[in-house]
Amino acid sequence: MSFALYIHWPFCRSKCPYCDFNSHVRDSIDETGWRKALLAELDHFASETAGRELATVFFGGGTPSLMSPATVASILDRAAARWRLADDVEVTLEANPTSVEAEKFAGFHAAGVNRVSLGVQALDDVALRALGRRHDTAEAVRAVELARSRFRRWSFDLIYARPGQTVSDWARELDRALPLAGDHLSLYQLTIEPGTAFATAQARGELRLPDEDTAASLYELTQERLAAAGMPAYEVSNHARPGGECRHNLVYWRHQDYVGIGPGAHGRLTENGQTVATRQFRAPETWLDAVERQGHGTEERIALSSRETAEERLMMGLRLAEGVAREAVREAVDESRVRDLVEAGFLADDADRLRATAAGRQRLNAVIGTLLRSD
């Protein structure tokens, strides 16, 4: 079973209006103090999972590219010292495609990062402003090109189904994006999350998303274009050339073990055959205090029931084109509903795997809702 490490850097220069991640804007950050705390929490989890080999490491946020390469380096060095790093370890860092951050790519690479994921979000200056991004298209393209020169693997994100976006708008944007792509692209449909600036605007009627039919057409176009370009979806919103899949994220979707450190980070660890869910304090200062006081910022540590574990595996596994082992989700699934879904073309008829078809993935909430045992 693969084993992964996630590090959460909770700070951003500014908060984007669509983002509900655990990100915060602070005037000044005591990076030395934060580094110490992250290392301390790393030590804490390492002592619980001694002897395991890290297949992947992921720096997420927030904006982890705001960290100094030295901090990244010390975390990776400590991880290597406490666990074993796999020979082909995948180390990803999320970065904003601004010139300031792009200048640090060499440093991150030297620190051990071998994959970057850039939050490009749009290749349209008007849209970028509406999304609250601090870069424009030209700057983003330069950052992608710089990433390409520094890293063997790079990915970037785009957000589609934006207010007013048409199918032909999106087709043109994809045409611009594909030549910039490495082995991986994340293409997300804009989702209005509660508690964000966009949610407020939507409630006021100031923000109108495309309707379901348009959203479906945009999604279908995305699947077609990317498949034709040799980057089929391996997950609902993630596309890769064969072998270019983000191995770290596969750990989540395959419901394998991962340690999550930093404010609000979640983890899943198998202990005595049972899945344990960990969650760290979400507020940066609360987490920091806890780590300084007790060596870790764990707010919650819960053993999941086998039913809950099966539900998580179903929910995550069906996002993947490869699906999930039937045995792993048996407890969560109402078998009597499988046939209808297979007949309707939403599930594939595999003997030992439960797998959503492309049509099924496009309607995954309803597919899961139908499959879910309610008794």
Partner: protein, 605 residues
């Protein structure tokens, strides 16, 4: 406690007050009680008689109540005036008739600016039928808009009563209350009766008191009621021993006996009001009357509907609450009903739509229940080809059409008063509802129209339409007017070809398509898109008369779900699982029960 001797007949006056809502009946009653010293100022609260919260809010009396007033008249004698407060709504027409049968006269209270309304008229006709001496009273005479002469003319034109001696008052300010009291003494006949004859007392109403048990309101016609007496209820033959005899002043006061002409209450260890039928005759076990008093008839519910708890967990509470309400109101019926779409509930019968609303409101308010009512249905007489007849009030009980020879439906005679300017709209409404015009007359700038209408057209949003067309100025009253054959059909609503029992209705063939289309459209908006297309159809037998389609879902997936999202999203699954328990399966699709609930809620609005 004090012992009051039996009052001589010529010192008794029994009277009712007839008035339209808001014309001042309760205020006048309060003033009369005050003037006769029935309550001290401290005890006086507004509208003493309407004691239930809903009664007070709606200005409607549901239970009959009486007050015994001692009035020292100008002739120097003290009279006992029994005020009978009657239910004032068409749904309770029978109860009204029994209350009126307990009196010899009525005060006809008319708002001096508003004039006669439909409800007033219906009750006046009942009073005339009961041979009442009727004393017209013009209330609110102090208002600038008062037009006493016009209203007097209207009383003469519309009702045919001599209004020249109408008493002009203001119940609000207390103006000329004395005049009303004097008129009662001078113009109303005293009751007649024989104290030596076998006991005959009219059961006017009854209610449940948590300390006393069932309290029966009575009017003695012949003979004497006294504590310890063994009585018999003539309709059922049940016997009881009187435990208490008393009068309301309006406080309950014990007396030794009640003689002819007197009005008061008894208790006799009776457990439920269902055993005390309004209009029944109470006689003495030892020396029974040969004949009961005329006019008794058992109460029959007219309008039926299903009542279902929104939350299935409330079923037991609904059952207990219905039982509690029924303790005090035997005129509604209920029996358990199971619906595939709505779960467990009750089929309930009511005296009319208002009665239905009152019960529903009391269940929701006093018992804190959230309820769904299915479309109200009337009672159809279905004559089968084998010569038998079944009374059907639930569409799901409708026999197979091939076994039906004909269906008869109840009709009503409706009287509507409406200002000129809205008459056109009201006539159109009545015509649209299969009405047949019987009369159209004018009184000043108000028209009075009489229509025969099928009751099933009236139970379907007729009041609401009437109100909105006339901006609230139309008044409406009706009485049942026999059964008549109609081209009626059972219309089912099908979801993916399976009928939704709770939405089935019996409807006139000419209305089926319109109603069916409206229901299908409504459901289409309420049923969320799903993996599979959903066909919603309205059907008469095998024939589809309306169809809507809920298109299949095209896209419904979380864009992002990573390690930090798993816990939160799994918790959403928990909610989804809870929701599934309230789903009803129709073929491959599961429809949330809430969609049917919402469809029914909208239908009631």
């Amino acid at each position: 406690m004090f012992a009051a001797p039996m009052t001589p007949l010529d010192r008794i006056r029994n009277f009712a007050i007839i008035a339209h809502i808001d014309h001042g009946k309760s205020t006048l009653a309060d003033r009369l009680i005050q003037a006769c010293g029935g309550l001290s100022d401290r005890e006086m609260k507004e509208q003493v008689l309407d004691s239930m919260e809903i009664e007070r809010e709606r200005g409607i009396t549901i239970k009959a109540q009486t007050v015994r007033l001692n009035y020292k008249a100008k002739d120097g004698e003290t009279y006992v005036l029994n005020l009978m407060d009657t239910p004032g709504h068409v749904d309770f027409a029978y109860e009204v008739s029994r209350s009126l049968a307990a009196c010899e006269g009525s005060l006809l209270v008319v708002d001096a600016s508003q004039g006669v309304e439909a409800q007033t008229l219906a009750n006046v006709y009942q009073a005339i039928e009961a041979n009442h001496e009727i004393v017209p009273v013009l209330n609110k005479i102090d208002l600038p808009a008062a037009e006493p002469e016009r209203v007097k003319q209207q009383i003469e034109d519309v009702i045919g009563l001599d209004a020249s001696t109408a008493i002009e008052i203001s119940a609000k300010t207390g103006l000329n209350i004395e005049g009303v009291l004097e008129a009662l003494v001078q113009r109303l006949p005293p009751p007649s009766g024989d104290s030596e004859a076998p006991l005959k007392a009219l059961l006017v109403d009854s209610w449940y008191d948590q300390y006393l048990g069932v309290v029966i309101l009575v009017r003695v016609k012949d003979g004497v009621l006294r504590v310890g007496q063994k009585i018999r209820l003539m309709s059922t033959g049940a016997t009881h021993t009187i435990e208490r005899v008393g009068v309301f002043t309006p406080k309950g006061v014990a007396v030794d006996e009640l003689g002819p002409g007197e009005v008061g209450f008894i208790t006799a260890g009776i457990k439920t009001v269902a055993d005390c039928k309004v209009g029944d005759t109470i006689t003495e076990e030892r020396r029974p009357a040969a004949e009961p008093l005329p006019g008794f008839k058992p109460v029959q519910p007219v309008v039926f509907c299903g009542l279902f708890p929104v939350d299935a967990a409330d079923y037991e509470r609904l059952r207990d609450s219905l039982a509690k309400l029924r303790l005090n109101d035997a005129s509604f019926e209920y029996e358990p009903e199971t619906s595939a779409a709505l779960g467990f509930g009750f089929r309930c019968g009511f005296l009319g739509l208002l009665h239905l609303e009152i019960i529903q409101e009391r269940l929701e308010r006093e018992f804190d229940l959230d309820l769904i009512t299915t479309a109200p249905s009337v009672v159809y007489h279905v004559y089968k080809t084998d010569g038998t007849m079944v009374a059907i009030h639930n569409p799901v009980d409708m026999p197979d059409p091939v076994k039906i020879d004909r269906i008869e439906e109840p009709w009503i005679s409706a009287t509507i008063f409406v200002p000129d300017e809205y008459l056109g709209g009201i006539l159109a409404l009545c015509e649209e509802r299969r009405g047949i015009q019987r009369d159209l007359t004018y009184a000043g700038n108000r028209a009075m129209v009489v229509y025969r209408l099928p009751l099933n057209e009236v139970v379907f949003d007729f009041y609401d339409r009437l109100k909105s067309i006339s901006r609230g100025y139309a008044s409406f009253d009706y009485h049942l007017d026999g059964y008549q054959e109609g081209d009626l059909v059972l219309m089912n609503i099908l979801v993916n070809s399976e009928p939704v029992d709770a939405l089935a209705i019996i409807v006139h063939r000419s209305k089926a398509e319109q109603r069916g289309r409206a229901l299908c459209e409504r459901l289409k908006d309420l049923i969320p898109r799903q993996l599979f297309q959903i066909a919603i159809q309205a059907a008469i037998g095998g024939r589809i008369i309306a169809r809507e389609t809920v298109k299949a879902l095209r896209k419904d997936v979380l864009a992002k779900c990573y390690g930090g999202d798993v816990t939160r999203k799994r918790k959403l699954l928990e909610k989804q699982k809870e929701g599934k328990k309230r789903m009803r399966q129709f073929g491959k699709v599961e429809i949330p029960q809430s969609a049917f609930l919402a469809a029914l809620k909208m239908g009631n609005q």
